[in-house]
Amino acid sequence: MTPNRDPIDFSHADHSGLFDILASTAVDGIIIIDSDGHIIFSNAACEKLFQYPAQEIAGQNVSMLMPEPYRSEHDSYLDHYKTTGDAHIIGIGREVTGRRKDGSTFPMYLSVGEGHLDRRRVFVGIVHDLTDFHAEAESRRKSDQHLLAVLDSSEDAVLSKDLNGIVTSWNSGAARIFGYSADEMIGSSISILFPPDRLSEEEEILRGIRAGKAVRQYETTRRRKDGMEISISLSVSPIRDENGQIVGASKIARDITEQRRAEAQSAKLQEELAHIDRVNVVSQLSSALAHELNQPLTAIMNYVGAAKLRVSAIEDSNANRAETLLDKTLEQADRAGAIIKRLRAFLEKREADRTTQDLNALVREALAISFVGSADDDVELIVDLASDLPAVEVDRVQIEQVIVNLVRNAVDAMRGGDERKLSISSYKVGTQNVELSVSDTGPGVHGDVAAKLFEPFVTTKASGMGIGLSICRTMVEAHGGRIWLAPSEKGAVFKMQLPTRDND
């Protein structure tokens, strides 16, 4: 309204003009009926709503704008009201269904007022089309339903709680993870999920939520309905109402128990492996050392023995003296040999650990150990284990260690290569032996190195000690088996043969 115009004075205005403008511009339908239900007036909006031209409905019973059964019963509604004054719609308004000329129906909001015109009782109805509103509500309902379905189908627990920790929603993921149904949890305190020693955690989380702080991927422990404690990763965010007030918290919890168990298992395997390494390195180093010392010691004793034979042929006091000295030398060499034998006997006590084993099972375990925590999962592994393998009588730890060694060597050899294929197979050789073959697609083992491969302290690895294969050989031979580098066109092929348990 602009100040340079005079305001309209309705007290003196032409009321029929006011009614005309009201009725013709109203977006909602306006219908006036008499006490028998006959239409006295309908405005322009009604033509659109019901698709009847105004003159077609003028004087007709308003029930024609309703579908059955209201259509037939409308007169009795009116009678009922007129005799009892018991209003169901008059003075109130509610959602009803309208009927168009073509018989189709639509939802509408009808409010009805009662008044008198020329001393006759009339009812004024205002009709608001709800078609769009319904469509919107339906689409909202559908999208809510979809959202709920998404939440519900989530593997994770999705739930909400108020600021007192009372659960307000609970999806099926939550039911599965925690074991409580939505019925059991909604309205209950979330604290029943907390192990006693973690109760203070909830206080802390709620304090943070009230201050608007979210918690992301917090790892903690909760207790299932069956009492089992599970590891979960938890994210909690504040929920705000339309005014921005924090009214609760939404929680997403993921069950990471399996993951934790797998990690613990992997750590345990690593630890076992480290232990096997330690124990074996000590005993195998000693064994390799004993073997290597044996060679020069054998040569010394042979040389001295030969020298003694030569000297004894000379009849001379100096020669006699020299012979005595050579005898003393032999005694000392023999003593050194005895020490080595004792050491070896001590190491061979490990034989007592031999049990009946399935070589294939050892291979599988060794593979698990070999690839634990390693970044070598892009190595293509081809495992072909004969199903009819006879049992072997072995020290499980030692033979597994040999296999681990071969597998790791193969993986190391292929590092940086384009093709990284590791094949491991087991099979029978005759009736008395089983063989394991480990081949890789690395650069292979060449000339000089190949000849001395199984000797201690020979390595092609920058960081290697070079005792791996010599230890393997010591261990395999202690089992009456053999280990060797097989000829191959490309890559390296190592083979290990072990006598079967029933070999005789």
């Binding site: 060679q295 054998t298 040569a299 030569r310 007592a352 202690a478 060797w484």
Partner: protein, 202 residues
């Protein structure tokens, strides 16, 4: 010495090979030595060899494989296996493959010479039935000791023997010590050799 006594040595360790050669030559034997089984198989010495002494552990072809190859080619001269590893199962395998003896490194020259003398002796004197001492000693064993001995010869570890006979590990150790003492063997290795050759070695 004539070809009658040609001794062939196969060992990849040069010092061991050379020192053994010195020893045999000082004793008056004719010796040829080879640094690998393949070199030996490729040479002429194969035809006139009367006793082969081979290391069990060698690259390319080890002592056991060499034995197999000689058997395959039909050579039956005595083979003495030298091992740095006095392991019973391995020794049993060597003996089964036809070795007449095996010796643990390091060895005293007497041990080596005795083994060679036995290998070169006419076969009749090394038969079990012809060695009364061996038969006598075997007879001294109790039934249970005989059982333990049989399993020892199979190359079974003490623990396995204990399981098979349902007796304790400790009991097996006691039996084993008694067997060694009754058979007058210095080691299980020697015991295995005795039983397999049927010769007391004395």
């Amino acid at each position: 010495m004539s070809d009658q006594n040609l001794i062939c040595l196969v060992d990849d360790d040069e010092s061991v090979r050379e020192s053994m050669r010195e020893l045999f030559e000082a004793k008056g034997f004719r010796v040829e030595d080879f640094r690998s089984a393949l070199h030996f198989l490729a040479g002429n010495a194969l035809q006139s060899c009367k006793c082969l002494i081979a290391d069990i552990r060698m690259p390319e072809m080890d002592g056991l494989a060499l034995q197999d190859e000689l058997n395959r080619r039909g050579y039956h001269f005595p083979v003495i296996i030298i091992t740095g590893h006095g392991d019973v199962p391995l020794a049993v395998r060597a003996m089964k493959a036809g070795a007449v003896d095996f010796i643990e490194k390091p060895f005293k020259q007497d041990v080596l010479m005795d083994a060679v003398s036995r290998a070169l002796a006419p076969p009749s004197s090394s038969r079990a039935s012809d060695d009364p001492k061996f038969a006598e000693r075997i007879a001294e064993l109790t039934d249970r000791e005989r059982e333990v001995l049989d399993l020892l010869i199979l190359g079974d570890a003490n623990k396995v023997i204990a399981q098979k006979l349902s007796i304790s590990f400790r009991t097996v150790e006691i039996h084993r010590a008694r067997i060694l003492s009754k058979m007058q063997a210095a080691s299980v290795a020697q015991l295995v050799r005795m039983v397999i050759t049927g010769n007391s070695g004395s």
